[in-house]
Amino acid sequence: MTAYILRRLLSALLTLLGVAVILFVLFRMMPGDPTAQIISPALDAAAQDRLKQAFGLDLPVWQQFIIYLKNTATLEWGRSFTTGQPVASLLGGWLVNTLLLMSTGLVLAISLGVVLGIFMAARRGGPLDNGATVLGLVFQASPPFVIGILLLMGLSYQFEIFPSGGMFTPGADPGNTWALITSKDFLEHLVLPTLTITALYLSTPMLVMRDSMLEVLGSDFVEFARAKGLSPVRVLFRHAARNALLAVVTVSSLILGFAIGGQIVIETVFSWPGMGKAMVDAAMQHDYPVAQAAFFLMAAVVIGLNFITDLSYSLLDPRIRLGTT
């Protein structure tokens, strides 16, 4: 088991290093000079040089690369070109905001998907099965902003039940973070973006769970459990569902990867001050330190989640653990 974990960990770290290198190269291949964005054209040549020097852009590329690697390894990431803030402190705040939103939405999408999937499989071809399939596919097929904007139009602009965006009502007292995120105000702001995320990502776990359930329900051990005289509910949940869950765990890590991409759009639609929006802004403004760190962090989250998925496999299915030796 330890060897397995170590091997997975090593490959995760190597992947991260690869990501770091690619990011450095990619951002320098982007059209446009960063100085053109962070340095106003209203500045004369001397002022441009002054700013280049302040942010280390006057150094040769290889030196910038070494500084960058060092910064990435120490998780320092230097300072933002546009704001002058240490990147780590900037990203910390944004990441928390993003995780708050994304985890709520995805937990809801996956758990709801799993439960619906079980019932759909239990009543295959019934109205729930058909209805949920169609609805799930429609949600999945629509671009994220469409669902978000429709929800905003209906529940915010038309009926004024929920606020139109942001994390808090402007001017809400900024007490400590914990008090803020447990406040009614925050929860109200959370509803619409969470619903959007749930709707967007519901179908995959739901359909995968359904199919996997159907397969498991047809297998011998389920037959046997039924023959033992176990109650149908017990068979469905304890025996079939547990085995079917493995497939959902697999796709969940994939969903997370997609969700991180979709987050950018959702945060823009709902003015949510998170990582996705910050990434877009930083990329547009050629704020290398922030953009690189944000993309790196996102990659780290995906790779980290994959790592955890791998580990949870081995917990759910001992065969995988054994197979590695």
Binding site: G32, A36, P41, D44, A46, A47, R50, W94
Partner: protein, 541 residues
């Protein structure tokens, strides 16, 4: 102009095209195809559209032109730093410091400004304009400057180093049920300082002022474009403020005396305090100049090079010695630079463990302005409250400056009443959409900003003034103002907008769109047309 007029115009062109063929035998090679560099629709929906209609109009001369919208950063790097472009369509925003004519006359047209980072990217050179631009920048009396400014405008218009296509308005929106007493300011609309301090706000007294762009930072030394002034100007004071009409108003300096052309004496207003209670002194003012100069604050670097020394001849007097007389010094430095409290900035950056004040976050700014910093939640909101001890205290309780995800989200928040004012321009299409909503006032406010088409004067065919003059007569100005900019703009001509009544030269008139006239100018300059109506250069050129 409606569609029918356009078709009619097009028909007229075909007729004149035929008329021009006669000259073909004297003419040389076809005029090379050129492209108009501009920003993408994502950056500004209007620009690629304007470039396209301009290209279309150039075709009426038998000359191929194409629109080339590219990433904004890439574009300005090519233009400003490398001068690598043929035509460049740009929006020059009418910021408050550009009300002084120095920017539009000297920065854009003086031949020495054709350099990396300079605004004369067209490479324009006219000795008379150079002389006039220099003279106006050194005359310390505003009335003396008017004459050279007016003359320069006319000469520039004759020479057409670039064409002014449209004067734009600032399209903005606010809630009339929440805000009273807004004071529109030239170049800043209702989002500027004079509205901040003069508006009365219903309810809890805090204005919810929204923008689609986040506050970048709160470090007054690190500002590098005037957009970054907006929030800082509430918290920090300046020696002067540019008034609603753009004229400097005495502020932290209660009086100014010109000892001679190169020596300015300022009287520092008494009784001012920093937000932490310490008094604002002449020491602080001297420190501010020295600090900006020592650390080469990028925005002021060039202007401060002209400052020889800042002295304190008496306890509340500051004497500034300049190397050369500088007319825009008041608006571009004294009404722009933010006063720093010496007792806080003295040890920066060393005492906070960094090597450069440009990297100083200044998370808890202490200024002497009419608003005190309260808190800033990055990416979502900045809150400032009224500083009652200020000599010109705000009429509202404070301002909460909110960041929205997009122009659309901002417009929707104003429509719903969650937000009561747009800080800066809201896109014309959205202003048009919400202008009829109850309690919403959405409209255009005067600005001296303009859409400008620069020609690279160093390359063919733009090195020929006659060619540029001809282009001036085919520009589809009406279509740009009315159809693309939805009427929130007026056709342009002089480089100084008529909004600046004092500086604008009324003798410069918007030319009518007249393809025949353009063709006549070209024919007279030796251009011709081949059998297909293609424009040919004069023989030997």
């Amino acid at each position: 102009m409606d569609r029918r007029d356009f078709v009619k115009g097009a028909a007229a062109l075909t007729a004149t095209a035929a008329a021009g063929i006669g000259q073909a035998q004297q003419a040389g090679a076809p005029v090379a195809k050129r492209s108009i560099l501009t920003a993408t629709a994502q950056f500004d929906p209007a620009r690629p559209e304007i470039a396209r209609v301009v290209a279309q109009s150039c075709k009426s001369l038998g000359w191929e032109v194409e629109a080339n919208p590219i990433d904004y950063n890439q574009g300005i790097t090519k233009v400003i730093n490398e001068h690598d472009f043929e035509m460049f369509l740009v929006f020059l925003p009418g910021t408050a410091i550009r009300i002084d004519p120095d920017f539009f006359i000297r920065s854009i047209h003086h031949s020495t400004e054709h350099k990396r980072g300079g605004f004369n990217w067209a490479g324009y050179k006219n000795d008379r304009v150079d002389a006039l631009a220099t003279v106006q920048s050194r005359l310390m009396k505003i009335d003396d400057r008017r004459k050279p400014v007016l003359e320069a405008q006319e000469t520039i218009f004759q020479d057409q180093p670039g064409t002014v296509l449209a004067y734009t308005q600032m399209t903005m929106a606010h809630r009339s049920d929440k805000l009273k007493g807004l004071v529109p300011q030239l170049g800043e609309g209702i989002g500027g300082f004079w509205s901040d301090v003069n508006m009365e706000v219903a309810g809890d007294g805090f204005s919810r002022t929204g923008s689609n762009a986040d506050v970048k930072h709160l470090n007054p030394v690190a500002v590098n474009d005037s957009m970054e002034f907006m929030e800082l100007s509430m918290i920090y004071d300046r020696l002067f403020r540019l008034g609603p009409d753009g004229k400097p108003v005495p502020w932290a300096a209660s009086g100014m005396k010109l000892v001679d052309d190169k020596t300015i004496d300022l009287t520092i207003r008494s009784g001012m305090r920093w937000h932490d209670g310490k008094p604002v002194t002449a020491e602080d003012v001297k420190f501010t100049f020295d600090y900006h100069k020592k650390w080469k604050a990028p925005f002021f670097l060039a202007a401060l090079n002209n400052v020889v020394a800042v002295e304190l001849p008496s306890p509340n007097t500051v004497r500034i010695r300049l190397e050369n007389p500088s007319a825009p010094f008041v608006s571009n430095v004294m009404a722009t630079m933010f006063l720093l409290p010496k007792h806080i900035w003295e040890g920066i950056p060393e005492k906070v463990g960094i090597d450069d004040p440009l990297k100083f976050p200044n998370d808890k700014p202490v200024g002497s302005g009419p608003f005190k910093f309260d808190y800033w939640r990055r990416g979502s909101e900045l809150k400032v409250t009224a500083f009652r001890e200020h000599f010109n205290p705000p009429k509202c309780a404070g301002i909460i400056r909110i960041t929205y995800g997009s122009h659309d989200a901002l417009a929707a928040a104003i429509e719903k009443g969650e937000c009561d004012r747009s800080r800066y321009i809201l896109s014309p299409a959205l202003v048009d959409r919400i202008k009829n909503v109850k309690n919403v006032v959405a409209k255009g406010y005067p600005s001296h900003g303009l859409y400008h088409l620069a020609y690279n004067n160093k390359i063919k065919p733009f090195d020929d003034p006659a060619f540029r003059q001809a282009l001036n007569h085919v520009m589809p100005r009406k279509m740009i103002s009315e159809l693309i900019l939805l009427g929130y703009a007026d056709p342009g001509a002089s480089i100084i907008s008529p909004i600046s009544t004092f500086w604008h030269n009324p003798a410069v008139k918007v030319p009518a769109e007249d393809v025949k006239k353009a063709r006549d100018i070209l024919a007279k300059a030796g251009y011709g047309w081949d059998a297909q109506g293609k424009l040919l250069s004069p023989r030997g050129k």
